[in-house]
């Protein structure tokens, strides 16, 4: 399911004194089965952009095409629900959406809203708990008795249980420790590779972009300023610095080495790539 933006603009609180333009002239295609990372400063419009992907927001100008559904400013608010089942959204700090008395019920909540039977939903809950790396024993516990990292996984399981085709994650590892970050990102990568999920990731962590994404969208002041593969985007270290976007550690390190006279065929993005390229240049 491709998602296409055509001349999309979005303005908050149109017609009030607080009117503010959050997006303008967005033209973008997010391909089926791709892993896209969206980067940019806080306030650059990333979160507004992704809320168009499951029709939580409708464009104030232009059109968003999600699979075979076309969303325009005139689209009726009803009947948007099927889109939200197909495009699952994990908000930042998603543990704040937990509310049920047990983990199982909370995970089953989403699918049941989309008409899946209770029995089937609870069965999915059991699957999803394993998928996000938790033990069956948590199913009957209150989600509020779990640790922060476990709550985060339950919340993600709650979205996965809807069996979406597209998974949007807004900084899914914010506030977690390195181990938790690695686990969550590993899980996302598995979902992408094994379950063929289209993944859209908002992140500040350039390492994650370099390691997992195959397309990067760079946003600034409500517009898209660059789209490309991680290597294309990260090759120009100076451009990244000018935009104050943060440079992946490998690229930054390689950049220092280039200044010292090292040469690389292409900009290395991970330490293994860098090591491979360094090997022939060392005694």
């Amino acid at each position: 399911m491709d998602i296409t933006f055509k001349d999309v603009g979005y303005t908050y609180q149109v017609g009030t004194p607080f009117e503010s333009r959050a997006l303008h002239e967005i033209n973008l295609t997010l391909r089926d089965h791709a892993f896209t990372a969206i980067i940019g400063h806080t306030g650059s419009g990333k979160s507004t952009l992704v809320q168009h992907l499951n029709a939580l927001l409708k464009p104030t100008s232009g059109t968003v095409t999600i699979g075979d559904r076309v969303i325009t400013p005139e689209t009726n608010n009803k009947n948007l629900k099927p889109i939200r089942q197909k495009v699952g959204m994990v908000f930042q700090f998603p543990e704040s959406q937990l509310f049920e008395e047990t983990v199982a019920k909370d995970i089953a909540f989403g699918p049941m809203n989309f008409g899946v039977s209770e029995e089937e939903s609870l069965k999915r809950a059991k699957e999803m708990v394993q998928l996000v790396g938790l033990k069956d024993a948590v199913l009957e516990r209150s989600p509020f008795d779990l640790s922060g990292g476990q709550m985060r996984r339950v919340a993600i399981a709650g979205v996965l249980a809807m069996k979406p085709e597209v998974l949007i994650l807004d900084e899914p590892t914010a506030g977690l420790d390195p181990e938790g970050r690695r686990d969550i990102m590993g899980m996302v990568q598995r979902l992408h590779q094994e379950n063929q999920l289209t993944v859209i990731l908002i992140t500040h962590l350039m390492e994650d972009v370099a390691n997992y994404a195959d397309q990067v969208v760079v946003m600034e002041n409500g517009g898209v300023v660059k789209v490309g593969t991680p290597r294309e985007v990260f090759s120009n270290v100076q451009w990244l610095r000018d935009k104050q976007l943060g440079v992946p550690e490998t690229a930054a390190f390689a950049d220092q080495l280039i200044k010292k006279g090292f040469q690389f065929k292409q900009m290395p993005l991970t330490e293994t790539e860098l090591a491979d390229e360094l090997l022939p240049q060392l005694p």
Partner: protein, 259 residues
Amino acid sequence: LLGRFIPGDSIVHRLDPRVKLLMSFYFVGIIFLADNWQTYLFLFLFTMVAILLTKIKLGFFIKGVRPLIWLILFTVLLQMLFSSGGTVYWSWGPIVISSYGVVNGIYIFMRFVLIIFMSTLLTLTTPPLSLADAIESLLKPLKVIHFPVYEVALMLSIALRFVPTLMDETEKIMNAQRARGVDFGEGNIFQQMRAIVPLLIPLFVSSFNRAEDLATAMEARGYQGGEGRSKYRVLSWQLADNLTILAFALVTVVLVILR
């Protein structure tokens, strides 16, 4: 962000919030004195002068009437239809439109409008925080009867400080649940009631967690009750404040004479 305060530099803006608060209470009191067209006209003129002094457009004041418009129309209509006396213009069974009724209706309308204008004047010209300070300051005498003034003031300021935070949070949770297939405000009454469960529980839980964090931070910064605390924010009473009180006193005298 909060409330309806419109920043400005008028003489009304600069008045001590305590004076504005007290006088807006007092105004509700003296409006009971109005009982004929002279008194109503006088109060109307007085209110208009006050509004003029704020340098804020009249439209903002009229907006304050909007939420009560049905109550106003309903009250005015009942007054007009069911009070008898004077010349009868039209009647049908118990329903009578008389000159007395029409005049009464107009008075009631004026009463509504004047009260709303005056309290709107307060909220438009006074920042929320100043009003909170004023409330605290005016509660202070209650310390004599062991009323927990400091604690209440602190709660009030915490409440004000967290309203925008919780507004954002509410919005966020609603979006998250919408993404999980919840429709807010749609369907029959039971569906609508069911829809708020996934909103309310997270809100209560998050408020509780925030409060715990906040309490820890407060204690880490040496908060041990209201005793012995000093205050960073101060209010200062000036000549204009005394003059305002004088003006209201004069209005009262005039009203009594005009009655």
